[in-house]
Symmetry: C2
Subunit: 336 residues, 2 copies
């Protein structure tokens, strides 16, 4: 097996440069020569050495996926598995490699970012689920590293992003609850330092305002998207006697339903519960959960495509994309 261009060149009876031209699909090579070279390459199972190539072209064909996320969420939330699936699919198609960086809680963020951003081994990065105030974001804006945020950041409007239309999704769901006759609609929000948490909360408020229902702080509790936090938030909301609860994730809905059961309340007879994500557990809960469906796979694909287009056509301005959602009505909600 030939390891270098030089060896392939010798076997094909041409120069190193010609082999390089063939590999890089440059037109200025006689068809007959091109054929001969390809035959040798295939016969020898030759693969160009990426590092050598990267050293001169300054491109690695590697994109990074940075997930600065607490452990708990990654564990329970299939969102990330699906997102990665979508990203990986596009990478495979387009000839890119995917480098995964999980930002763990206890590590030195600064060293981490430098290592990731300045090591020259990433052509660009995708940043998923970064808190709005994550120090990575300004650093990204200074650096020259092309990047796309999965989930926009209103404080940095110049960084390209793709997102799901969380406001509309949450508003539609809340409107649906109100349409069922509920007036005391509680919400368990996600962390309000994330765009997702904030926007789903915003959608909830918009629906209330639209229906001219006064906003009531007692009907709002914050969680962190995990089941456990949903359980605890629901306990805090009980005294406010909501007739419906919108939790900003299905996992939190699951926790909320357990808290309600523990308090002797039935779903949906006493309290309607709705979630967000349409995660696999949504249909398994008892009763099956009304929720908002979004396609994390699709989001991953669009994110990767956007980044790759940015890398390959830096001048063409990027259309930023907000994916739409759909309401999935199951049995956990009912007419008041």
């Amino acid at each position: 097996m030939a390891q270098t261009l030089e060896e392939v060149a010798k076997l094909a009876g041409v120069s190193r440069s010609t082999v390089s031209r063939v590999i890089n699909d440059q037109p200025s090579v006689r068809d007959e020569v091109r054929e001969r070279v390809w035959r040798v390459i295939r016969a020898q199972n030759y693969q160009p050495h990426q590092a050598a190539r990267a050293l001169v072209t300054r491109r690695t064909n590697v994109i990074g996926l940075i997930i600065p996320e607490t452990v708990a969420r990654l564990f329970t939330d299939p969102f990330f598995a699906q997102l990665i699936q979508g990203i990986a699919e596009v990478c495979n198609q387009r000839g890119y490699y995917l480098m995964l960086s999980l930002m763990m809680a206890r590590m030195d963020r600064d060293a981490f970012y430098r290592r990731i951003l300045h090591s020259g081994q990433l052509d660009g990065v995708l940043v998923a689920s970064a808190p709005l105030d994550d120090p990575l974001i300004p650093r990204l804006e200074e650096s020259v590293c092309p990047c796309v945020l999965v989930g926009r950041n209103p404080d940095h409007p110049n960084i390209p992003w793709v997102d799901v239309d969380n406001v509309t999704g949450a508003r539609n769901l809340t409107e649906y609850l109100i349409g069922l006759g509920h007036r005391r609609v509680a919400t368990i929000t996600g962390p309000l330092n994330t765009i997702v948490g904030r926007e789903r909360f915003e959608g909830y408020r918009q629906a209330l305002a639209q229906a001219e229902i006064a906003y009531d702080d007692a009907l709002v509790a914050a969680g962190d998207f995990t089941e456990d936090s949903g359980f605890r938030a629901m306990e805090r909301l009980l005294h406010a006697r909501p007739t419906a609860v919108f939790a900003a994730s299905d996992a939190m809905s699951a926790g909320a339903m357990q808290a309600l059961a523990q308090a002797g309340l039935r779903v949906p007879a006493d309290v309607s519960v709705a979630g967000y994500d349409d995660a696999p557990i949504a249909s398994l809960l008892d009763p099956p959960l009304t929720t908002v469906r979004q396609s994390a796979v699709e989001l991953g694909k669009v994110a990767a495509e956007t980044l790759i287009r940015l890398l390959e056509n830096p001048d063409v301005p990027m259309p930023l994309q907000k994916l739409s959602t759909s309401l999935v009505i199951r049995d956990s909600t009912r007419q008041l």
Copy 2:
């Protein structure tokens, strides 16, 4: 910001080599010089160029995680998210980067493997959940690329691996069911071309044999670890009238429980159900699921540590590891 060793060297008033020595922590540098160089490096926020380094050292500090897995399973199974979490944690600690390769169903496996294995950008690879007959495995054995299988492959005993003790886990669980008085214990197996599917089935058979219960084909149906396949397998098992069912994954248990409910059978009053994995849904099912707990995070950590030790000390023989499991008894099983 200095981009190259040369620039740092000039600023520090030393030669390129000295800077290189400082960066690579070689002892033969005067402390005073070392200090001066570090100061410049920090001030300039200098990071060595990985490609240049890799070109000469032949090491990239990147390890690959290859997951040749069908779409359905990645979506629903938190096993992978946890496995990745464990691997990423060790990579972060030990200064390695993680490259993720999802092997999608429709792609050209051959080209994929060559691209991954021969591009020279991976110091070693971790292979998770490969089917026993995956063409990657023999290819891996031929290639010089150090690798560790997550899940052993009995046909290739020479490839290092780490694994969970699936036989014992399944046997313990089945013994528990038998201990509750069940004689007609059905099983929904995983795919029998995976080591996991095979070993959990083997554990089931061992427990039956131990209790001198005759093995009955009518009490066995194969699934593919997904909820849906569990549902369909359970439908096929109904006519055999089992009093207990052991499904080789929690997701399949969930499907089985739905099929039972649809047939008008109650869990655990009419049929006991037990799963495997202790996935997040296990405790959310109604009733909460008796299952076998294994730590996918731990497995990921051990896998990454094993590979890294293999890379850094190729001569030291590796102790292969089988992680143990524990039985988690909840409400889906009861005395017959």
